[in-house]
Structure formats: structure tokens, C-alpha cells
């Protein structure tokens, strides 16, 4: 375990940023968000960032390739660049886990090279939560906010940051951090963990259970009358999906530039009415069906195909952001309540 006095932290960031782009949460007008570190940037320890680190690996909009056309001919241009290493600092346990979930989608065959290369080059420096909020329920998905995964795991106390390298990639970061840290034992970190766990235990959503859900439960929930009630005021906007660290629906589109065509991929949302509309029709015509799809996917379909892993990490962003305050917690409670009662 290494220790970095908080007074040294900016120097540490500067040293890392010298070697590779460093992204960390900074306070913006609308709260904390990942931004690229520049001299003078102030790291924010607010729990949690408005959006997760998803954008850094799966950007909202990215060019896939370009085309030049003339007459009847087409030329395909591979616009991919060699990715460079980059570091993401301050990732919370839920968001670290969310990347593992995205991996299951994008790194399964056939692999998505765009995502894969960013994943390969991105170093995740995670940070245990200090002040989880009322919206947090990562514990329900077996995530320990006090001890996140990642290439490096950090704990923050009043006066210092404690770092533990976990992977080879993590060591790259640790090497850059070396001048600003000292060896120490893990007493302080352990104490911090305990403190966090205490808070976790008394969170209002600490007792949210996932037992009712999982693979193979399609029949049980698909035709539940609850869906109509739950979705009745859903606006069909994409807020929940865009702030969700595990949502990864996308669309591939062409953009005619002044001298060719760029094919790009952008986030899409299963909540959008046009999402599944194709030449022959739309199989999810009502907001109820789309709403159901989103939650069934997170709670049933995904675990069915992924060894029981839910596609939700309890980060609470959809609770904080939904314009009408409908969210996965309410859905789970309603479905579970129905099942029990």
C-alpha cells in the first residue's frame, strides 16, 4: 500500500498527465464530471459524477469509418487511430463494475475493436466512496463501495490518499506516482473501509433485494400488469439510458460531409419510440413495451446471457436524473411486491 499526502496530489496528477491524458472528476456547473486534467484543475471528490466514465470508452458519438464516393465507385477509409494510454482517476466501485458489464457486451465475439482498444489502453484508478448518497444501492448488486476493483484502488482519508496497484496496467500508473508516495501499511485504508461500510449499511436502499430477478424469469415478469402502471408517466426521453453507466444501445448512421460520408456510431436509447422501427415495422410500439424492455434487459435478459450478472450497478444516477422520478428501484420494488403479494 502506498500513501500520498493530499498536498502532493496535484503534483501526482501533473506527473501522470505529463505521461498520458488523465481524466478525473472536476466540479462543473452541473456537478462533478470527468474532464481531462490540466494545470489548475481541481479534483472533485463528490459522490458521484453526473455521468459515469462510460463516455471515455464508448463515446456518445464516434466516427467508425469514412467513405469517398464518385460516380458508382466507393472507397472505404479506415479512420481508426492507434489509441494511446490514458488514465481515469476517481472511478467509484459501481462505475468500475459497469465497465466490466460493458466488456461483456463489447468484448464478446465478435469483438468491438473501437471499445476494445480504449479498454486496453485505459487505466482505471478507482476510489472507495466516502459519502455514498441516498440514491446508492450498489450493495444490492454485490458491489463493495469500500473496496472497488480497477487497475489501482484508492482510499481517501482526511489527509491522504492510499493507493494499491492491482494489475500490470495499474503498475504503470503507480510508477508515475512513485515520486509522490510513500510506503505504508493498510491500517488507514482498512479503517476507512469500515467507516464506509457503516454508512452503506444505513443507506435507505440498503435492503433492496435482487433475489426475485435473474435469468430465466422472463415468463414471470414479462406479462406483469405492473408495467402499464410503472410506465404510464414515462416521457420516453433518453435520460436514464444516457446517464446509465451500463446502457450501451447504439445506432450506426451516415453523415454526408461536404466531400464524402462519415459513418459514425452514437448512443441510442431503447426508450425512444423510433428505436426498433425498421423497414418492416416496429415490434415495441408502446412506451410500456419499451420501458419493459429496458428493465427486463437489466434484470432478466442480461443475467440470463451473462452468468447471472445484472446489468445494473446501483449507481443511482437514474434516480437522481429521471424527469418524472421513475427508476429501477421503484420498478424492482413494484415487481417484487407483486410477486410476493
Amino acid at each position: 500500500m502506498l500513501k500520498c499526502n493530499l498536498s502532493q496530489l496535484d503534483n501526482l496528477f501533473a506527473a501522470v498527465a505529463e505521461a498520458m491524458p488523465l481524466y478525473l472528476p472536476t466540479q462543473g456547473k452541473n456537478g462533478a464530471n470527468y474532464t481531462k486534467w490540466q494545470a489548475g484543475a481541481v479534483w472533485s471528490n463528490t459522490c458521484n459524477t453526473q455521468k459515469g466514465p462510460k463516455d471515455l470508452f464508448f463515446p456518445q458519438s464516434e466516427d467508425l469509418m469514412a467513405f469517398k464516393t464518385q460516380g458508382k465507385t466507393i472507397e472505404i477509409i479506415d479512420t481508426r487511430n492507434e489509441a494511446e494510454d490514458f488514465a481515469v482517476f476517481g472511478v467509484r466501485a459501481c462505475d468500475v463494475k459497469s465497465l466490466e458489464i460493458l466488456d461483456r457486451v463489447f468484448l464478446s465475439e465478435p469483438k468491438d475493436s473501437y471499445y476494445a482498444s480504449r479498454r486496453e489502453h485505459g487505466i482505471i484508478i478507482s476510489l472507495a466512496c466516502n459519502r455514498p448518497t441516498e440514491n446508492c444501492f450498489c450493495g444490492s448488486f454485490g458491489i463493495d463501495a469500500s473496496s472497488p476493483n480497477g487497475d489501482v484502488t484508492c482510499w481517501l482519508t482526511e489527509d491522504a490518499l492510499y493507493l494499491r496497484g492491482n494489475t500490470e496496467k495499474g503498475e504503470k500508473f503507480m510508477a508515475l506516482a512513485a515520486p509522490f508516495v510513500t510506503e505504508c501499511d493498510d491500517t488507514a485504508a482498512e479503517a476507512q473501509k469500515e467507516k464506509i461500510q457503516k454508512i452503506m449499511a444505513r443507506l435507505p436502499l440498503a435492503d433492496l433485494k435482487t433475489d426475485a430477478f435473474g435469468g430465466g424469469k422472463t415468463e414471470e415478469f414479462f406479462n406483469s400488469p405492473q408495467w402499464a402502471k410503472l410506465s404510464e408517466s414515462c416521457l420516453g426521453c433518453g435520460t436514464c439510458t444516457f446517464v446509465c453507466p451500463t446502457c450501451q444501445c447504439y445506432d450506426i448512421r451516415d453523415y454526408k460531409t461536404n466531400d464524402g460520408v462519415v459513418r459514425y456510431r452514437c448512443w441510442d436509447s431503447c426508450m425512444y419510440s423510433e428505436f426498433t422501427r425498421m423497414a418492416h415495422g416496429n415490434n415495441r410500439n408502446s412506451q410500456k413495451e419499451r420501458f419493459r424492455q429496458r428493465f427486463m434487459h437489466k434484470l432478466v435478459y442480461f443475467p440470463e446471457n451473462n452468468d447471472g450478472v445484472f446489468s445494473c450497478v446501483g449507481c443511482g444516477r437514474c434516480l437522481a436524473k429521471c424527469p418524472i422520478s421513475m427508476n429501477i428501484v421503484k420498478v424492482m420494488k413494484a415487481l417484487e411486491g407483486e410477486q410476493n403479494g
Binding site: T69, Q70, G71, K256, N258, D259, N282, N285, S286
Partner: protein, 665 residues
């Protein structure tokens, strides 16, 4: 995917002088969809057109772009060329490389570059063109004239003269309008009745003209060539076909105290009446507001005296519906109410009258049998003050009156003054005016005669106040030229009241979806170039409903409107402009924004049933455009937030494609 042919015209050296036409044709060859591209000296020549026709056939072209002079010059030519070769004429686009390129740029390089870009834009547009077929609609060969004054009568006579049936709808029991109330007419001083009544008789006797008097238009639907109009025939309690107009009933009717509106209430008539001797139709009418029989069920004298058996106390309003190809509005004018002009003591003294009342006072058929007598005591007035511009040319911020000039007052006042002095030389006549406006044939000469030959006192200045004092009217006025206050003890004051459109015009405009200006005058389709047409196709304007007019102007506009109507009715079918708006019902949300901006009333709404997913249906309000009425301005397309409204020939995606092509470098 279109197969596009590009034809670059040299226009001799007009284009080729500053634009490298070969280079343009070559460059455009590489554009997507272009399968043929060439240049030629004069594309509009027969040989040039043949090149186009041959290329259409040989290369199976689905669209062509002609890079040439302005489309305002030869678009029609090339459309005809395309049509002759079997291509829909609306698959032609013109790139204007002469007026907007070669003629305004000196430099060959930039001229050529720009010509290529303009060509590219036209190609981009043609890609999205769709064949358009002009709609055809039949024309009902009958015209409706609303209003039976001199304007309506003249229009009807001219239309009937061309062989088309015309119906006149008049709210009064007789046609004739304001002119029938006038005494003499300026500037010739011939008697109004003498020139009007023959026309009224002509109208009555013309087999093609049907007069619906005592009637009004109650509903209009349809569009140019195909209006369906419901006419309400108010019950007159006298059978028109039986009444001979003998007038016996009007003599025997015991109810004598009915104010006579024809004489502007200056005398009385009976409850059953014929407005005036030369009325057309000359049929009696029972005034239900005053008839004792209708009100109490006791009387029935008229029925008893009527030898023709024309009286029918049980008559009801009737509605008839007729199809018309064209509608002429001739609703005329009225003097404004003098209520708000109490400084002139109109309501306090019977001897303050309006000019129209003055007309009746001097008319041989009027309440005084043509003798100019004071309404209050029947004495000859010896000092008369005429006040001009009462309610005309007012400040926009003033609470009363109109901003505009009523146009006719200067002349009729000169007439009144002159006639007074002529008949009663002992009478002193003053005319107070702001300006005297006499811009008409023989008008100024007329006015000068009044001043110079008849000794009328024209005073530039306004009358501030009229105060009744005993038998006199004390007129306080200012003389702006001499800069002094005048006090005149007049016997009679005549107010030249402003004129305004008839009150029936506003609801009628709504029915016709014809637009009006802020003063409720009907708007013309173009103030200079289409002054007798309303923006609503098939609706024409005749007379003072469009703006203040004197008789000669009214009559000439009436004939002009008739000519327009005849031109329309001559056609068996109307061929529409296919570049009109149309609403995509799937996108339309029925919000009515588009109808708000449509100057032609071409947009209507209906509740329509839509099939929704999962076998459900939904009733939704959607817009539809009547292509026969729409003129294709496109105002609605921008008012529509969802893009449901689009304009054929200038679709959103076509214009955006042009933008893209122009910006592509």
C-alpha cells in the same frame, strides 16, 4: 435514383463569354446521377431543344438541368420541351448562369466555378423532384354578385352580357344601393336616378340575371370554380311572383309611423312598403317589426286589398343553395355613425345633417319633394355650413374616425354647394376643408366653378364646435389662411361623414376566407397588378367594398371584375398550379398554425381515423390543403413545426439539398 441530363447553354457569348461552358458541362458530368452532359450555343433554339428531346429519349433521362438564362425567361420553354419528349415538365430545373453569373462576374475563373456550383445545386434539387401533375377542377358556369348597388348591377350586366348566368344577392328589398338615394352626380350633374334606373331595369329584365332581393348569403363552401353558396331569402310576406307592385296595399296600410330608411328616417312609410317608385323588383315588403297583423294577428287589410292575392302572413325565411364558379363582392359602403362627433351637435339638432341626408333633402323624390327645407321647422335655410372630413383622415391614435381619406366628399360637397347656390342664390354657403382633393377627370374644373362661378365660401380650416342657439346653429371655426376665428350663425350644417365598409362585409369575408385590411375593406390580391381580385381565388371585388370610390371608378372596377369573372367562367376546367402545399397526415398534429398564416384559406381540418399499432384506432385532427385554392407561397411550411406541411416543387429537402450543394466546395 434519377438519370439526369445536363444542358449548358452558351447563349451565344452572353454566357460563354465569361463562363467556360465546356468545363461546366464536363464538371457536372461527375455529379451523382448525371448520365449525360453537353453544351450548345442556344439551348432555347429549336436545335437546342431537339438536343434535349433526343437526350431524354436516348438516355432515358428522368430529370434535366438546363444551365442557361433566368428561369423567369425560359423555364416554361424547357418545361414544354421536356413534356414534348414525354418527361414530366416539373422534372426540369434551371441553373441561372446568365443573369446571376456570366453577366455579373467579369472573371472567367470565378464565373465558371460559380456556374458549376449553380449547376450542382440544380442537379441536387432534381434528384428530389417528383413528377407533378396539375390538378383539374370543373368550373360551375354561374356567378354570384353580393350586393346590388351600382357596382353589383354593372358587374352582373357585364357578366350576363357575355352569356353567363348571374345571381345578385341584395339585403334590401330593392337593388340600387346608395346611388338610388343620390340626387345629382358629379361632375356632370346628371340625375342619379336617370342613369341608374335604366340599368336596374336592364338587370331585372335580363334572362340571365336573377335577383335575390331582401336576401343574404348565409354560408359559403368550396373553392374557385366550385363554390356552394347558401342564400337566405328573408320572408317578405309578399309573394314576389304574384305582386304587381300596384302599391294599393302601401296606401291602405294603417301603420303609418314607420321611419323611412330610404329617406334616412327623415319621413315615414307604412308597414308594408315599396322603398321607392323605381324599385327593382317592384314588389311590396311587409316590415315584421311594425306590421300589426304579424305582431298581434289583427288587421290583414293589405291582404284584403290585394287583388293579386300576393300577401302571405305565414311566409318563412327560405334557404336556397346554388353552385357558383365565381363570386363578386360588391357590398359597398355606409357613412359612419355621427354618434361620436357630438361637437357638431348632430344628435342635438335636427338641422345638423349628413351629406347623404342632404342628398335626400334635395331629391325630388325625397321627404321635401326636392325643396331644400330645414328638417326642424321646414323653413328655407339661408346660411349653410358644410364641414369636410368628418371622421376621415383622423389620427391613428384618435379614438374616433378613420385614418383614410373617404375620397368622394370633396366632390359631392362641391356639388351640394353649387346646387344650393344655383337653386337658392340668396343662400350663403360655407365649406370648411382641410384640403380639397379633386384628382379626377373634370373634377378640378367642377370645384373651381363652385368657387368662382357660384361664390361658395371655401374656408381652409376645421369647425371646432356647433352649438344650437334658438333657431340658429352657432358654428365656431378657424380660418387657417387668414389666421382668425370665425363664428357663423348657420341655419343648416351638413357633415361630410366618412364612409366605411358595410357591416355585412366582415362576416362575409370570414365565410369567403377573403382577407380584409384593418378598416374592413377587402384586400386585393395585389394592390397594383390585381386590384379587382381578392387573394382568395375565385373571389373578386367590385366597388367601395375594396376602398372608397366614386361612381365612375366603381363602375370601371365593376366592369373589370366582370371581365375577370368572364375569363374564369369561359374555362371548362381550371388547371391548378401543382406547386402547392400538401399536408402529411401522419405527421400533422392539427395545431392550426398553418391555417393562421394561409392568405387564401386553403387549409381545412378534419378529424380522421388512424390505424395504430395493435389493432387500435385513433381519431386525430389533421390539416388538408385544397390544391385548387393554394397559391404555393409556402408560409404554412414554416409555421408547421413538424414539417407535415411541405410545398411541392420547393420541398424542404429540395431546398436543403440546394443549400448543401452550394456549400460543398
Amino acid at each position: 435514383m434519377q438519370r439526369i441530363g445536363v444542358f449548358v447553354c452558351w447563349c451565344g457569348s452572353n454566357i460563354a463569354g465569361t463562363v467556360d461552358v465546356h468545363a461546366v458541362a464536363e464538371a457536372l458530368k461527375n455529379e451523382s446521377g448525371v448520365v449525360f452532359s453537353t453544351d450548345y450555343q442556344y439551348m432555347c433554339s429549336q436545335a437546342g431543344q431537339d438536343i434535349i428531346k433526343n437526350a431524354i429519349a436516348e438516355h432515358k433521362l428522368t430529370g434535366i438541368v438546363v444551365c442557361s438564362c433566368s428561369p423567369r425567361m425560359h423555364e416554361a420553354t424547357f418545361r414544354k420541351t421536356a413534356a414534348a419528349a414525354g418527361l414530366n415538365p416539373y422534372m426540369v430545373e434551371i441553373a441561372n448562369i446568365r443573369e446571376q453569373c456570366s453577366w455579373v462576374h467579369k472573371d472567367m475563373l470565378s464565373g465558371t466555378e460559380k456556374a458549376v456550383i449553380l449547376g450542382r445545386a440544380a442537379i441536387a434539387k432534381v434528384h428530389l423532384n417528383a413528377p407533378l401533375i396539375p390538378g383539374q377542377s370543373p368550373v360551375a358556369k354561374r356567378a354570384l354578385v353580393i350586393g346590388g348597388g351600382i357596382a353589383g348591377i354593372q358587374t352582373a350586366l357585364d357578366i350576363a352580357d357575355a352569356g353567363f348566368p348571374v345571381d345578385i344577392v341584395e339585403t334590401k328589398p330593392t337593388i340600387g344601393g346608395k346611388m338610388a338615394q343620390l340626387d345629382k352626380t358629379f361632375p356632370t350633374l346628371d340625375c342619379a336616378a336617370c342613369i341608374l334606373t335604366p340599368k336596374m331595369v336592364d338587370a331585372a329584365q335580363n334572362e340571365l340575371i336573377k335577383i335575390y332581393s331582401y336576401s343574404e348569403v348565409s354560408q359559403v363552401s368550396g373553392y374557385v370554380g366550385n363554390f356552394d353558396v347558401t342564400i337566405k331569402r328573408r320572408a317578405r310576406f309578399v309573394k314576389e311572383d304574384l305582386c304587381t307592385g300596384c302599391g294599393l296595399c302601401t296606401e291602405k296600410c294603417p301603420q303609418k309611423k314607420v321611419p323611412n330608411e330610404f329617406n334616412l328616417g327623415m319621413d315615414t312609410r307604412r308597414a308594408i312598403y315599396i322603398p321607392f317608385a323605381q324599385a327593382v323588383p317592384k314588389v311590396a315588403t311587409i316590415d315584421p317589426d311594425y306590421c300589426t297583423m304579424l305582431k298581434t294577428g289583427k288587421c290583414g287589410i293589405c291582404s284584403k286589398v290585394c287583388t293579386a292575392g300576393a300577401i302571405d302572413y305565414t311566409a318563412k325565411d327560405e334557404f336556397i343553395t346554388e353552385k357558383y364558379g365565381a363570386i363578386v363582392v360588391a357590398t359597398g359602403y355606409n357613412p359612419i355613425s355621427m354618434e361620436k362627433f357630438d361637437e357638431f351637435a348632430y344628435s342635438q339638432s335636427k338641422d345638423v345633417i349628413t351629406s347623404l341626408e342632404f342628398e335626400r333633402l334635395t331629391n325630388a323624390a325625397g321627404p321635401t319633394a326636392g325643396k331644400l327645407l330645414r328638417p326642424s321647422d321646414g323653413e328655407h335655410p339661408h346660411k349653410i355650413v358644410f364641414v369636410q372630413c368628418v371622421g376621415s383622415r383622423c389620427d391613428s391614435c384618435a379614438e374616433k374616425g378613420k385614418e383614410y381619406c373617404s375620397k368622394i366628399c370633396c366632390m359631392y360637397t362641391a356639388k351640394h354647394a353649387m346646387l344650393t347656390r344655383d337653386k337658392y342664390p340668396d343662400t350663403e354657403v360655407y365649406v370648411f376643408y382641410i384640403d380639397v382633393r379633386t384628382p379626377g377627370k373634370a373634377f378640378d374644373e367642377f370645384y373651381r366653378r363652385a368657387v368662382e362661378e357660384y361664390g361658395v365660401h371655401y374656408v381652409k380650416g376645421m369647425v371646432g364646435k356647433v352649438v344650437p342657439q334658438g333657431k340658429k346653429l352657432m358654428v365656431q371655426a378657424s380660418d387657417l389662411i387668414d389666421g382668425k376665428q370665425l363664428h357663423i350663425d348657420a341655419d343648416l350644417v351638413v357633415l361630410a361623414a366618412a364612409i366605411e365598409p358595410d357591416k355585412s362585409a366582415r362576416p362575409l369575408a370570414t365565410m369567403l376566407t377573403a382577407s380584409m385590411d384593418t378598416n374592413d375593406f377587402f384586400t386585393e390580391a395585389h394592390p397594383k397588378l390585381r386590384p379587382v381580385e381578392s387573394p382568395t381565388a375565385g373571389v373578386f371585388l367590385s366597388g367601395a367594398c375594396q376602398g372608397p370610390k366614386d361612381i365612375p371608378e366603381t363602375v370601371s372596377q365593376a366592369s373589370a371584375a366582370a371581365a375577370k369573372v368572364i375569363g374564369l367562367l369561359c374555362k371548362d376546367h381550371l388547371t391548378g398550379n401543382p406547386c402547392v402545399a400538401s399536408a402529411n397526415e401522419m405527421l400533422c398534429s392539427g395545431c392550426s398554425q398553418c391555417a393562421n398564416v394561409c392568405p387564401y384559406g386553403a387549409i381545412t381540418y378534419s378529424e380522421k381515423e388512424f390505424r395504430m399499432p395493435n389493432r387500435t384506432t385513433l381519431m386525430r385532427r389533421v390539416a388538408s390543403v385544397n390544391p385548387a385554392v393554394c397559391q404555393g407561397c409556402g408560409a404554412c411550411t414554416v409555421a408547421c413545426p413538424s414539417g407535415a406541411m411541405d410545398l411541392n416543387g420547393f420541398k424542404n429537402n429540395q431546398i436543403m439539398a440546394e443549400v448543401d450543394a452550394i456549400c460543398r466546395n
